[in-house]
């Protein structure tokens, strides 16, 4: 199909690349772009190659630090004799999944059983992680309504752990059987300590994170995670897509996964079979239209950089284009979810 009307990354002159890089860097996605699209191998001008190289060096440092930090966490919690479930970025890195590539993040999300939460918090404190100062309202919010202990930051290394006992916000309006997802987690390479969600549940968790989280600027990164997870698992097992939808129904995330995969397919060309998820190409076309406007920062429409970035990606490896946060917002509105207004509306 020719949503691009024949325009591809070769239509990007060095200035357009510079603009794209600048905006991707702002969104924390330059390294992801560089790693997934193998931008170090596509013959960009030297100046841009250096930026690609620098971003890949930084991403490698993040991965190294995460693995290092996981060893510290293990040291701190091993004595409890309880399994510890790794979520999101830390899990991708520990499992060396494609979704870890170029992913810049700093927090480590772990889950322990609710009855072990207090002990785990105490052990982490002994290991040097301290809860930052929160006002009483925040403390209460966290402990009563959230699925987390307030973020704990290591006093020397400055690294942050989010300690959870569940997967999604209990206040959200959809009833999700996240307990089932946690109960059916599996050990990471035979370890009795680290656990991970099943393949299907990892995608479901990423999808619910996308749909329930208020970090709007992270939206694209989350969709990209979903895409990379889906491609990876589907390439290992042909029945993965079916199992994913079945599992989603089972735990109450059927609507969430459909919405998330629609976005991922429209934007990143995620290979979700048509029979499982009937198409909606309108949005994609609309969004590609954004990319043909002026590329000048002062005059370009907000969000055009996303379109640009996705265009490039589509051309070069994935098959994708356009925008999404609009849809994200629309979706939230339709759920009646009252998240905070994004400070940079797109």
């Amino acid at each position: 199909m020719s949503l691009l009307g024949g325009r591809g990354h070769d239509a990007f002159d060095p200035e357009a690349w510079s603009l794209l890089f600048s905006e991707a860097r702002r969104a924390g996605l330059l390294a992801r772009l560089a790693a997934i699209l193998r931008l170090d191998e596509v013959g960009l001008p030297e100046r841009l190659q250096k930026q690609v190289k620098a971003s890949l060096i930084e991403a490698a440092a993040f991965q190294r630090d995460v693995l290092r930090e996981l060893e510290h966490v293990q040291q701190a919690l091993q004595g409890l004799g309880v399994p510890v479930l790794l979520l999101k970025g830390a899990a991708y890195v520990r499992l060396n999944l494609p979704a870890a590539r170029g992913r810049i993040f700093s927090d480590i999300d772990i889950v322990v059983a609710k009855e072990s939460l207090a002990q785990a918090e105490a052990s982490l404190m002994l290991g040097g992680w301290l809860t930052g100062k929160l006002d009483p309202y925040d403390q209460r919010y966290y402990r009563e309504w959230s699925h987390e202990v307030p973020p704990m930051t290591h006093r020397r290394r400055g690294t942050t752990i989010d300690l959870h006992h569940a997967l999604v916000m209990p206040t959200c309006r959809i009833r999700v059987d996240s307990g089932k997802m946690i109960r059916e987690a599996v050990p990471v390479d035979g370890s009795a300590f680290w656990w991970r969600l099943q393949d299907e549940d990892m995608v479901l968790h990423a999808a619910s994170h996308l749909m329930f989280n208020s970090e709007f600027e992270r939206g694209l990164r989350d969709i990209w995670d979903i895409d990379l997870l889906f491609r990876d698992f589907a390439s290992r097992s042909a029945s993965f897509p079916e199992r994913l939808f079945e599992r989603a129904r089972e735990v109450g995330l059927g609507e969430v996964i459909r919405e998330a995969l629609r976005l991922a397919r429209a934007l990143l060309g995620t290979p979700v079979p048509e029979n499982l998820l009937p198409g909606d190409a309108k949005m994609a076309t609309r969004l590609v239209a954004r990319a043909v406007y002026s590329r000048h920062r002062q005059t370009r429409p907000a969000g055009q950089w996303l379109a640009d970035m996705l265009l490039v990606s589509r051309e070069m490896y994935l098959r994708l284009p356009n925008h999404l946060l609009l849809t994200h917002l629309a979706h939230k509105a339709s759920l009646g979810f009252t998240g905070t207004t994004p400070h940079k509306a797109i």
């Binding site: 510079s18 600048s22 905006e23 702002r26 440092a61």
Partner: protein, 304 residues
């Protein structure tokens, strides 16, 4: 190539407004935008010899010095440092905008150019030999590099040493940031030196910038080979002391002053070891700039 001082005021103002202005700082190309007259005036004065283009093109960093949101302007005229459209720092009053530009640029370089090992250090060159002057803030590093620059040394940077994978020092000649009493010291010693507007009461006290020589700017694409590492320390009334520093000790001190050593990991270690193995390290304690310069010239001649 066109230099900033050869642009007309109209060209410059238009180009800084419409996004077509590029400043070349050695290997770095900066897209600079601004509509703040105070900044533009200081920028013109201090970067007059730097190459620029007015026709757009590729760039490394997108920097704007601009007025923050309207409501703030009622309180006081402020300027923001925007990086890729983001404002990582609090706005400052317009009279400090040129200092904000320099600080913001240091931040951007230290935060993103990880293909280089970046060390908090001045870099100068004498008789073709690159010298790192690494010191903690307040040890007179900028004053010393300003003095050397005015005495005919080539200045590569007064703040940041960029060591690339070939162990070359990447030049970034640009205005030298002088603080408090060092402004008058340089002004008295070098009455012809071009010093930009004073920014008073910043978080670093009073700050002004020394324009670097056209020659230093002209060599901004020529990397230097490191031949000497010096840890300078200004101590009031102290007699000159020059002492060797072991390679291992020098490495630890440079790590302490490095911005991205941990990001580079093993590669940073290898680069640093290669540096201290091929480059002697010395520390000097001084109170007189003349003595310090003499000592440095002797060190370069005998050990560089």
């Amino acid at each position: 190539m066109l230099t900033l001082s050869s642009c007309t005021s109209e060209q410059l103002h238009r180009s800084l407004r419409d996004g077509s202005f590029r400043l070349y700082l050695g290997q770095l190309a900066l897209k600079v935008s601004s509509d703040i007259p105070e900044f533009i005036a200081a920028f013109r004065q201090l970067y007059g010899d730097h190459p620029v283009t007015l026709g757009g093109g590729e760039y490394d960093f997108d920097i704007a010095i601009s007025a923050p949101a309207l409501w703030r302007r009622w309180l006081r005229r402020n300027a923001s440092f925007e990086f890729s459209g983001d404002t990582p720092f609090l706005p400052m009053e317009v009279g400090h905008a040129h200092a904000l530009f320099e600080w913001g640029l240091n931040w951007a370089i230290a935060s993103f150019l990880h293909h280089c090992l970046i060390i908090h250090s001045a870099v100068v060159e004498w008789q073709g030999k690159g010298v790192l002057l690494s010191a903690v803030s307040g040890s007179g590093k900028s004053t010393l590099s300003a003095e050397l620059s005015e005495q005919g040394w080539r200045l590569l940077s007064d703040e940041l040493a960029l060591l690339d994978s070939d162990l070359k020092l990447i030049p970034l000649a640009r205005p030298v940031s002088l603080k408090n009493s060092s402004i008058d010291i340089i002004r008295q010693r070098h009455p012809m030196a071009v010093i930009g507007p004073l920014a008073r009461d910043t978080h670093k006290g009073t700050v002004a910038h020394l324009k670097v020589s056209a020659d230093a700017v002209g060599h901004n694409l020529v990397p230097a080979v490191p031949k000497l590492i010096v840890f300078p320390k200004w101590v009031e009334n102290a007699p000159l002391r020059v002492e060797p520093v072991g390679a291992g000790q020098a490495a630890l001190r440079l790590i302490d002053q490095a911005f991205n050593y941990s990001i580079l990991g093993a590669e940073g270690f290898r680069r640093l070891v290669a540096l201290v193995r091929t480059t002697e390290a010395w520390q000097i304690e001084y109170s007189s700039l003349d003595e310090a310069r003499d000592a440095l010239e002797t060190l370069v001649a005998e050990h560089g």
